[in-house]
Amino acid sequence: MSISAILTAVAVVGGVGLFLGLFLGVASIVFKVEVDEREEAVLAALPGNNCGGCGFPGCSGLAAAVVKGEAPVNACPVGGEAVGRTIASIMGVEAGETVRMTAFVKCAGDCAKTTQNYEYTGVADCSMVGYVPDGGAKSCNHGCLGYGNCVKACPFDAIHIQNGIAVVDREKCKACGKCIAACPKALIELIPYAAKSVVACSSRDKGPVTMKACQSGCIGCSLCVKVCPVGAITVEDFHAHIDQSKCTGCGACREKCPKKAIMEL
């Protein structure tokens, strides 16, 4: 191959490259889309998981909404307080107090505490199990089915099936709410990270039914209501509920609960 052939090749490919480069450079100026500077800054401050936990389609969706004033500056549940404050300083407003929340699975009926009424060998998917007789093989009709729809939904690897029930890793949980939407039994709830006492049961059955189904089910005996010094507990449909805004975490209810359905986190 002669030297001129090499030079031609270099010149032509280089020329094409140069032309395309210039063409794209000009195009990027001509087709420039005006973006609010603050929107880019807000987007940079957000975690970038695009989890949708805020209710907007991805982080860029939230950034646009924050700049338009359609979303509060601390709307990102993943970033929490730190990101909220950064965005507040970009937007020039005060961020309100944010309480760190984590997901909690209101069921403690693991394999040791519940039994299987029959052997289920169908599709391993919680929402499918809901269609089989008696709402799945588990002795309790209200509890965690353990097929892990929440595990698949979690973008942060913060929820796992342990001994037949879903358990949240509270250090990893970012409270995005994906698992709450994924659970067909509506067992998962957001509670403050600081919460001490929780009712680890969702059974609405009468006491004797629950007692038969699970060793640690809430039977609605109301002993906790009487013992609570701040009146944070109510019993409705044979099921105790703790108002976390009132709870001081003293532990009196945990002591008193005969089924140990109220647990310490």
Binding site: A5, T8, A9, V12, V13, V16, G17, L20, G21, F23, L24, A27, S28, F31, K32, V33, G122, V123, M128
Partner: protein
């Protein structure tokens, strides 16, 4: 005139069905397997591919005829075509972002991903190999991309159904998808008697 129309029609049938880009030429398998979980996204990807391949076929044909052939450096076609396709996808993205934001939103990440779709380059090179003119190149590109759309939408439809089947553990995930794609390829062999 009638002859040309007939040739174009045969070209369209052959490149979209008979020698389907995915199922008999095995080009563009990455998006074919990667973006075929849902029919909606598959249609989005297919649409974006049609858009880019049609334009890329035309532009590469022009470059080949008016730049590479006169300078006698057709052996550099691959590298030049890659350059042109990458720049073209960038340009299309900028253009859509400015003038058709709704389409830009709908195509989303699939648009830049097309740069790495080997079907685009494959068709550009095939056009050169078969010595098509500019017009035929564009038609060939368009109908090949339509073939890609057909294949990816069918696979996505099958995969949506497969999700609820009781598949043996060792076949779950990608293996069953590859087997499905293989069976589809066999089924598409049936078109070979068409022309």
């Amino acid at each position: 005139m009638l002859e040309v129309v007939k040739d174009l029609f045969v070209l369209m049938i052959s490149s979209s069905l008979v020698s389907n880009v995915v199922l008999s030429q095995f080009l563009g398998l990455c998006p074919f397997l990667g973006v075929s979980k849902k029919v909606n996204t598959a249609v989005g990807m297919g649409g974006a591919v049609i858009f880019v391949i049609t334009i890329a076929s035309g532009v590469t044909a022009v470059i080949y005829r008016f730049v590479l052939v006169p300078f006698d450096i057709t052996y550099l076609q691959t590298i030049v075509f890659i350059l042109v396709i990458a720049a073209l996808v960038q340009f299309v993205e900028m253009f859509l972002k400015k003038y058709v934001p709704s389409l830009y939103q709908a195509l989303g990440v699939y648009l830049p991903l097309i740069t790495t779709n080997c079907a685009v380059l494959g068709i550009a090179l095939t056009n050169v190999q078969k010595e098509y003119g500019i017009g035929f190149s564009i038609v060939s590109g368009f109908s090949t991309a339509v073939g890609f759309l057909i294949a990816i939408v069918i696979l996505a439809g099958i995969r949506e159904k497969i999700a609820y089947n009781d598949i043996p553990e060792s076949f779950r995930g990608m293996p069953i998808v590859l087997i499905t794609a293989g069976l589809m390829a066999i089924a598409f062999c049936g078109f070979s008697g068409l022309l």
